[in-house]
């Protein structure tokens, strides 16, 4: 019995190792040919066999960054409300719905992105941004509807539930005496929350952000349906772009030639490493907050 269950548990480790190995082995050609230059070249040319990862890394990071800029304030705000203000039953009910939001598949977000967000962006939001903030290079260029900004907005909706549910948990785990001490000293509800509770849970909240970031980086379907699928590096958020996951989804089944295919696999390896590091940091941070429960908190 012990042996049987051990074998099953070991198979998990084996499969994971095999996955990393396959990614490594499957990307040997571009690693030898391009080396480190792969990460800083921006040309992606299957005809002349030149492959550089920069546009995809850029697109992945920019869209994730935009999504966090939107999702973190909203998510943290909602988490504060749920943890500090709402009565327990309301908090639990709302959390229930937010967990359901996390269960919506990526392709459905993509569907909504194509038919709702893109026209909204193209007809209203992008022109409005251009008129008001068009002096910034961020908001210049034609308003296609697709692009970095749209992908960022769709990703933001997708990652908010993660920020909310983890932040809510860590906020709830902050010991009561912290709040009460602040209130006893004359702080308002908000001051007690913002200046005492939130800093106390800071690491856990950071952890939730890293988790959300990891999710945003790996998103494939919703992104490829709204980002424009063009390997471009541009300061403008209106520009169409590409992300690592999206280019793999689009070009993997048709990459003729080993160097082409393996360059895509190397991109997969890069993505894997990015999410691996972020997930690791996230977990560390969340654990750190939990451990603070016993000691004296330092703001």
């Amino acid at each position: 019995m012990r042996l049987v269950t051990f074998l099953f548990a070991a198979s998990v480790v084996l499969v994971t190792l095999l996955l990393v190995f396959e990614l490594w082995r499957g990307s040997v050609l571009p690693r030898h040919k391009f080396g480190f230059a792969f990460f800083v070249t921006s040309v992606w040319d299957p005809i002349f066999d030149q492959f550089g990862a920069l546009p995809f890394i850029y697109g992945t990071l920019i869209t994730a960054g935009v999504s966090l800029l939107i999702a973190v304030p909203l998510g943290l705000g909602a988490a504060i409300f749920l943890a500090e203000l709402a009565p327990a039953r309301v908090s639990d009910t709302l959390e229930f719905f937010i967990d359901l939001l996390a269960a919506v598949p990526s392709v459905i977000y993509g569907l909504l992105g194509v038919f709702i967000v893109i026209p909204l962006m193209r007809e209203y939001i992008q022109p409005a941004l251009k008129k008001s903030l068009g002096f910034l290079p961020l908001f210049q260029g034609p308003a296609y509807g697709v692009g970095f900004l749209t992908a960022g907005v769709v990703l933001a909706i997708m990652v908010i539930p993660y920020i909310i549910s983890v932040s809510r948990e860590v906020l709830l785990s902050v010991p009561r005496d912290q709040r009460e001490a602040a209130l006893a000293l004359g702080a308002t509800r908000w001051e007690s929350t913002w200046k005492v509770v939130v800093p106390y849970a800071r690491s856990g909240i950071m952890g939730s952000i890293f988790l959300a970031l990891a999710r945003a980086l790996g998103e494939t379907m919703a992104v490829t349906m709204v980002i424009g699928n063009t390997p471009t590096i541009s300061a403008s958020l209106f520009s169409p772009g590409y992300s690592i996951a999206a280019v793999i989804a689009n070009e993997f089944t048709e990459a003729t030639g080993d160097l082409y295919l393996q360059s895509l696999i190397e991109l997969g390896l890069v993505l894997f490493l990015l999410t691996f590091i972020l997930n690791g940091m996230a977990r560390l941070l969340i654990v750190l907050t939990a451990q603070r429960g016993s000691g004296m908190g330092n703001a």
Partner: protein, 283 residues
């Protein structure tokens, strides 16, 4: 009350209202999504949607019968892979293992959990498609099963661990072997949580599209057996949504509604099972 205090109280009320708005917005999004899908997809969810095969390109009519059955077959294979490995692996972690092995296994599971689904697709392609020289339901199910493993494993382990030691000790005091203890005492005690974990893992992979792109591929007809490419709901939604045909858009909405409806129902049922059952500490 001084002006400063009034100001601080105002700020407090204002900021806290803002947070309430944030929460409201987040929840509203969910209902908006649902409502929009019902509005657009509801009218297209017809009998022919469930029973007809896709029509030739450009012609109207046709349905997604093969995609619905295909998704069901894929999920069956995924469950056959994900559930035993996840469950039995969790039993090992909770009941048998020492500290360091447990750490390694948990770490590997968390790693696997964090792998982007497109990368799982690459892996499944090289392992389950290339050597056999064809796309298949089995390959797609394999990819989805891989994604189910970590979710099932970690959650099941938590629920098994949460069973109080007194139950274990009581059983062993009565002369039960380790295996009997696990099978007749511990697992039944934790079964609600385990079922919830399996259902949630199920709901998670039911909507996955990316890994199926290079494994199950696609099929305009019924997929015979398990060794041929198959259509699936998520991939059909993707294909139809980015195409220009209005009839295909209509069907994509319907499929989206059906898929999301299924996922939400499974999620709600899973949580209901947990809520009614044994009180377990929050993870």
């Amino acid at each position: 009350m001084s002006a400063r205090v009034r100001w601080r109280k105002f700020v407090s009320a204002f900021m806290l209202t803002l947070t309430g708005i944030c929460a409201f917005v987040a929840v509203a999004v969910l209902f908006f999504i649902l409502g929009y899908l019902v509005f657009h997809g509801g009218s297209s969810v017809s009998w022919s949607f469930f029973t007809k095969l896709p029509a030739p390109v450009g012609e109207t009519g046709g349905g997604m019968a093969n995609a619905i059955v295909g998704s069901a077959k894929l999920l069956l294979i995924a469950a056959l892979i994900g559930v035993p490995i996840g469950f039995l692996g969790a039993v090992y972690l909770a009941e048998f293992s020492g500290g360091s092995t447990a750490f390694v296994v948990r770490y590997a599971a968390d790693l696997l959990n964090g792998v982007p689904s497109i990368v799982i697709g690459i892996f499944a392609y090289s392992l389950a498609v290339l050597p056999f020289k064809h796309f298949s339901t089995l390959a797609g199910g394999f990819a989805l099963g891989l994604m189910m493993i970590p979710i099932t494993l970690r959650s099941t382990e938590e629920f098994l661990r949460s069973v109080p030691n007194t139950l274990r000790e009581g059983a062993m005091a009565l002369g039960a072997s380790k295996w009997q203890t696990i099978a007749s005492v511990i697992v039944p005690a934790a079964y609600r949580g385990i079922l919830t974990a399996i259902l949630l893992a199920f709901a998670r992979v039911a909507g996955e599209t990316a890994p199926l792109l290079f494994t199950a591929f696609g099929n305009r007809f019924w997929s015979p057996g398990w060794n041929q490419p198959t259509a699936s709901l998520p991939v059909m939604i993707y294909t139809y949504a980015i195409a220009p045909y209005d009839d295909w858009h209509r069907q994509a909405w319907a499929a989206g509604l059906v898929l999301l409806g299924l996922i939400l129902v499974v999620n709600i049922v899973a949580r209901a099972i947990l809520a009614r059952g044994v009180a377990v500490p929050r993870s």
